[in-house]
């Protein structure tokens, strides 16, 4: 299904203004809301997955950058800090984004 325009003509709307592209919110990069970002210290990470599970954005995954380790997709990470707060080994630091 083609991506629906954000500025459609009235003739371009799907029936009933339905959204026909599932999960299209992925186009919405919420990462630019962030003022700090999580940084993993791999030497202390036990790869338990707690950060993955508790991320409200669902944007932390394993193997994004370094094989076997979790990382946040900064396109979406809003910098809430839950991962750092919940990490059982405190291996995640929230680092301020530079202006």
């Amino acid at each position: 299904m083609a991506v629906q325009s954000a500025h459609p003509k009235w003739t371009e709307l799907a029936v009933g203004t339905a959204i026909t592209e599932p999960g299209g919110a992925r186009q919405n990069r919420t990462g630019d809301w962030r003022s700090s970002r999580p940084v993993w210290k791999h030497s202390e990470c036990i790869r338990c997955g707690v950060c993955v599970m508790f991320c409200p954005e669902g944007c932390i995954q394993f193997n994004l950058e370094v094989e076997g380790y979790p990382n946040a997709d900064l396109e979406y990470c809003k910098g809430c800090g839950i991962c750092a707060h919940e990490c059982p080994t405190a291996c995640i630091a929230m680092v301020d984004e530079e202006e």
């Binding site: 954000a6 709307l13 799907a14 009933g16 203004t17 339905a18 026909t20």
Partner: protein
């Protein structure tokens, strides 16, 4: 084989829903709609109709359930009246915006207060702008036929809009009349299996009913306006199809003895039958009066109205509801606005009649014709009047 039987209009409607193989009936009881849904629940209980009968806890939930069922692709029917319709109000707009082809029969009844279970058109006139196709039946035959037709029209992919069939509470819902009932096979030939334009399908996920930010809301509304206005074509076409299948032709606007008429009266619903009798009586005494029966209310059939009224100088409009504090009759104000830009504008005389079950007898129509003929003579438009009001 079609059969000719005498039956109550409500039963005829319920049987029609059965003939249409509705998948879902969701309804909450309200006088005078009850016989329709009672009989439908019997049809389901007896295995005559293979449907889910959902006995909801309110009309608000009735129409909400219908939104859900229709979005799965199930043929969906509900019926209500008066306060029940008013309770649905919020959701009625959404059902049309989401293009869900629900069919609803409204047993027209007055609105509280004071509470009144009797007939007028207050309920439906308050729902003028909900974006549904709205049509009025005059008798049991028509109520049955328009119910069958409503599914065909609503589910037509070019239309895909919810549709209301109006009929007058008690004076039509509870009337026993002769009805020609089609057989199931011919109904099935007329009404194909419902294939929705979009449905809730786990294999093809869609999000229905998203947030309309200011950037798109105007476009959504234009799409809706266009869609309902353009439904006129399919309406005429499917009414023609109905005539081909069943031999009974219904038009958006019907005229009765308008040839050489000097004045016309416009009516909607079951009182049109009394009005026709009144026309006959007056004609038999040489009065050149005629009748225009407005069947289709939304989309408004402008061209049919112009043809029906032609160049006749005086048009009376009989409203069955009041627009408080504004132009008194909601239908009359629509008719006036329809003629505003026309070269020929009839003098329009407003009557409000039959509120809350007040009888409108032949004598009342006689009086209305008197007023219309007098207007024709004097050229002076009398103020709106409440027919039968004690003063």
């Amino acid at each position: 084989m079609e059969t000719r039987v005498g039956k109550e209009t409500s039963i005829a409607i319920a049987d029609a829903v059965g003939l249409c193989d509705a998948d879902i009936v969701a309804a909450y009881p309200i006088t005078p709609q009850t016989h329709i849904v009672e009989h439908l629940s019997e049809l389901v209980a007896d295995g005559v109709l293979d449907a889910e009968f959902i006995p909801v806890e309110s009309e608000h939930s009735a129409i909400s359930v219908c939104c859900g069922t229709s979005a799965t692709g199930a043929r969906t029917f509900t019926a209500t009246s008066s306060q029940g319709l008013a309770l649905m109000h919020e959701i009625l707009f959404i059902a049309s915006a989401l293009r869900l082809p629900i069919v609803m029969v409204v047993a027209n009844r007055s609105l509280s207060g004071p509470i009144s279970i009797w007939n007028d058109h207050s309920d439906i006139m308050a729902e003028r702008d909900i974006g549904w196709v709205q049509i009025f039946a005059e008798n049991a035959q028509e109520a049955q036929d328009l119910t069958i037709w409503a599914f065909r029209l609503a589910e037509d992919k070019r239309v895909s809009l919810p549709t209301i069939v109006n009929l007058d509470g008690f004076i039509l819902t509870h009337m026993i009349e002769p009805v020609v009932v089609p057989d199931k096979t011919s109904v099935q030939k007329f009404l194909p299996i419902f294939e929705p334009v979009l449905r809730l399908d786990v294999d093809k996920p869609v999000s229905i009913g998203p947030v309309g930010i200011p950037d798109i809301y105007t476009e959504c509304r234009q799409a809706q306006q266009h869609n309902l206005t353009q439904a006129y074509g399919p309406i005429v076409e499917t009414l023609g199809e109905f005539a081909k299948h069943f031999g009974r032709q219904y038009l958006p606007v019907e005229s009765y003895r308008t040839e050489d008429a000097e004045v016309l009266l416009l009516t909607m619903g079951a009182l049109s039958e009394t009005a026709m009798e009144a026309v006959d009586n007056r004609r038999s005494r040489g009065g050149r009066v005629g009748l225009v029966r407005l069947r289709l209310w939304r989309p408004f059939p402008f061209e049919d109205l112009y043809r029906a009224v032609s160049d006749i100088p005086v048009l009376g409009v009989m409203d069955r509801a009041i627009s408080f504090g504004g132009p008194i009759g909601p239908v009359a104000s629509e008719i006036k606005s329809a003629f505003y830009h026309r070269n020929h504008r009839p003098n329009i005389v407003e009557f409000v009649a039959g509120l809350g079950g007040r009888d409108v007898a032949l004598a009342d129509f006689e009086k209305m014709f008197d007023v219309l003929l007098e207007t024709k003579e004097t050229g002076k438009i009398p103020p709106p009047r409440m027919v039968g009001l004690r003063e």
